[in-house]
């Protein structure tokens, strides 16, 4: 398949179309709305399921294979908030708090972008490495913490934000699921497969329908924050994405794995980071960081970015 064909395939996947339907519903002012409990239930299910699947795979992986990818991920975890911070200061011209807030968002990971990339990679026939969910946690936690450090430099309740990230539900579900998967292995998997594996992609589709509505309700804010934020929210992911694919390749990941690591690296958090930033940097402007991560970067990655990172991975890795 060539790149255009893959782009078409991505655009016409139920997942991306459901996101578009959500956007359309909000723009048409439909009264469609997901109950909050459904949104939360789907989040819990998706995160735990992805962790669990990863854990089962992990139980079959020799630890030594994990070493290089983990190092590559830690490298990304240190670099991404720095580049985010600098670009925000220089290119957007915002103050220290706002730059720190943006750095925290582009320094951590969007779990849904990760899932979409994994699904895409599997969909085009790759078999991405099973330990990738471990890397999500490895990328998420230091990223946020470093960004907050950048912004604070000598004050405030950083410890609280740190604890919040480490014991945050995303991390607990992802790592907890991973551990359970690793411990219960294939025998456990066999019994819960019809719940955690088979319906997974459909549940993700439903979740993206909701996320489309949430993202669309941020589109109005786009006009206020302007063109520069749009550029920021697309160029930074391209940069981080290409870098992620590259170091993934160097660390020995398969093209599928490198695609997913690229997408992770390109993504911006809109669950863990906003909560941590709101507590640690209350003076930063939520309109800025939420619009950038949720209304610009997330749809960009979902629709265009992932196929691009895949193309890069194919081109580098063969």
């Amino acid at each position: 398949m060539d790149a255009l064909e893959l782009l078409r395939l991505n655009l016409l996947s139920p997942m991306v179309l459901a996101f578009a339907l959500g956007v359309a519903a909000r723009l048409l002012k439909s009264d469609l709305a997901f109950p909050e409990a459904l949104y939360t239930a789907l989040s819990i299910y998706l995160l735990f399921a992805i962790g669990f699947k990863g854990g089962v795979e992990l139980s079959k992986t020799p630890v030594v294979l994990l070493l290089l990818p983990a190092l590559a991920t830690l490298f990304l975890a240190l670099l991404r908030p720095l580049s985010g911070y600098l670009l925000a200061r220089r290119f957007l011209g915002v103050g220290r708090a706002d730059a720190g807030a943006l750095a925290a968002h582009y320094g951590s990971v969007s779990a849904v972008t990760f899932l979409a990339a994994l699904t895409f990679a599997q969909g085009v026939g790759h078999r991405p490495e099973g330990f990738l969910p471990t890397l999500v946690a490895l990328l998420e936690v230091p990223g946020i913490v470093l960004a907050l450090l950048l912004a604070k430099r000598g004050g405030g309740n950083l410890g609280e934000a740190f604890r919040e990230v480490l014991t945050g539900k995303s991390v607990v579900l992802l790592l907890g699921g991973l551990l359970i998967g690793a411990l219960s292995g294939e025998a456990g998997m066999e019994r819960v497969k019809p719940f955690f594996v088979d319906p997974f992609y459909g549940a993700l589709t439903l979740f993206l329908l909701d996320l489309g509505m949430v993202a669309a309700s941020r589109f109005a804010a786009l006009r206020q924050v302007g063109l520069r934020l749009l550029l920021f929210g697309t160029l930074l992911p391209l940069l981080h994405g290409a870098l992620g694919v590259w170091v993934g390749h160097l660390a020995g990941l398969s093209p599928g794995g490198a695609t997913v690591l690229g997408a992770m690296s390109a993504s911006a958090s809109y669950i863990a980071a906003p909560a941590a930033v709101r507590i640690a940097l209350p003076e930063a402007n939520p309109s800025l960081y939420l619009t950038a991560s949720l209304a610009v970067t997330f749809p960009f990655n979902l629709v265009l970015g992932i196929p691009v990172y895949h193309a890069i991975a194919k081109w580098i890795g063969g």
């Binding site: 909050e36 949104y39 939360t40 989040s43 539900k169 949430v214 941020r218 804010a221 809109y270 669950i271 906003p274 909560a275 709101r278 507590i279 209350p282 003076e283 939520p286 309109s287 939420l290 949720l294």
Partner: protein
């Protein structure tokens, strides 16, 4: 029946603040509180996109001096940066000693 006059302080705030606000009011002397999930709009429409949903509406029945301390603390540490409002009312309760 003896009805004792007290103050009811109601705080509407972004839900992220729940834990911090509960700690604050207990530290300032509140003996109990009731929370209800809420949504709303005010001067800053913006709320973080978050699993917790949007707002909470926290009520606490307290003596007047505690009410004033709570309001002062909110004004100092929360009103500037967070989406928070608060108001006080007069209420009458049975068993007034429970709230002091």
């Amino acid at each position: 029946m003896d009805l004792v006059p007290l103050k009811l302080v109601t705080i509407v705030a972004e839900s992220l603040l729940e834990k911090k606000l509960v700690e604050e009011i207990q530290r300032l002397g509140a003996k109990g509180y009731t929370i209800v999930p809420a949504r709303g709009e005010g001067s800053r429409g913006m709320r973080s996109v978050d699993w917790e949903g949007q707002n909470i509406r926290l009520e606490t029945i307290v003596p007047e001096e505690v009410a004033l301390k709570i309001l002062a603390r909110l004004q100092e540490a929360y009103f500037p940066h967070y989406a928070v409002i608060a108001y006080v009312e007069n209420v009458w309760v049975v068993r007034g000693e429970k709230y002091v």
